[in-house]
Symmetry: C2
Subunit: 196 residues, 2 copies
């Protein structure tokens, strides 16, 4: 028993949690999304920059605009999920640093004066937060269906602006019929971990 | 109560979990690292590519080689943590895809024949896995001290090879005296989430 997290929580978040490919029509409420955010917002990022931004696609009009930008195999999932979220990185996150990192006012200009540095840092740290968000969806008893198969430039132009880079589109809901593919293998500890 | 994860687990993983800057000398065992890996290996990645690789810095000789590559403020933490892990992305992860994704043998050549495509995908998906790993460290009742302030090229040359890109160095252990800075603010829901 090397973990202190209780086994039911281990199962909920990792062991039994699976990427869902179909969903029931049970709605995902704003209260659920708020609770997920209020939990995972505490996940660590470098200099507390928290560059993840979330666009909830709720209206059928917006859903219709999103679907053509998804890859073929992802269109039906995107059409049927009760809620779809576009996750993006805010490349102008440094504007919030005086609020987010009041103890280190020098960081904004020291590391993030240039856009390429911001883009690299935003992409990495928003990816960390995307993973926390997936864990949070599962913490709400919901299934996540994260997708990277879509036209990123198309999604950016349709829903975001030049300052935001799409990272992932996530279907969210209760799993439907035949929601899960067979669990794929994972690499063994010795294939991943080296000790020096 | 929009979350089904029990409140103690919420606290352990997110609400009360904090980045530690000092550590006790209680060792982190191989069994703990194995348990963490065996939990978080199930976190989702695109096409199950799981490109994260972990280098555990256990010997004092290796620790001495790592410290000079850390930024000034991170050197003392890296020197004192019971265990330090270098997280990297394997840019040749596609070689494992026949094992990891047996149902889709075409993906390896379709998307990952070229190194730049692999590097982009590995960086993003290994970042997701780095976040799962941080959550897993907390699930083991330990504190993580993730650091991005280091000389990446120096660490790569010292510990890795041309096929691996360092992502993060993580101190792992039980928090010591004055381990935590005050909790920094987080952005509000309405600053992060837009509904369309």
């Amino acid at each position: 028993m090397s973990l202190v997290l209780d086994p039911a929580a281990q199962d909920l978040l990792f062991r039994e949690a699976r990427t869902a490919n179909t969903f029931t029509d049970e709605p995902v409420t704003d209260e659920q999304v708020q609770a997920i955010y209020d939990l995972v917002k505490y996940g660590p990022t470098a200099f507390n920059q928290t560059p993840l931004r979330i666009t909830l696609v709720r209206s059928s009009e917006a859903r219709e605009r999103l679907i053509p930008h998804m890859s073929g195999g992802n269109q039906a999932k995107t059409a049927s999920a009760p809620l779809v979220a576009i996750l993006s990185a805010d490349n102008e996150f440094h504007e919030e640093l005086p609020t987010l990192l009041p103890a280190m006012p020098q960081i904004k200009d020291l590391f993030f004066a240039e856009r390429p540095a911001r883009e690299g840092s935003a992409a990495f740290n928003a990816a960390l937060q995307a993973a926390y968000f997936i864990v949070g969806i599962r913490a709400a008893g919901l299934a996540a269906g994260p997708m990277t198969g879509y036209d990123a430039e198309g999604v950016r132009k349709e829903f975001l602006d030049d300052d935001h880079t799409p990272l992932m589109v996530v279907n969210i809901g209760k799993p439907g019929e035949d929601a899960f593919r067979p669990r794929s293998p994972r690499l063994g500890f010795d294939e991943v971990v080296t000790t020096v």
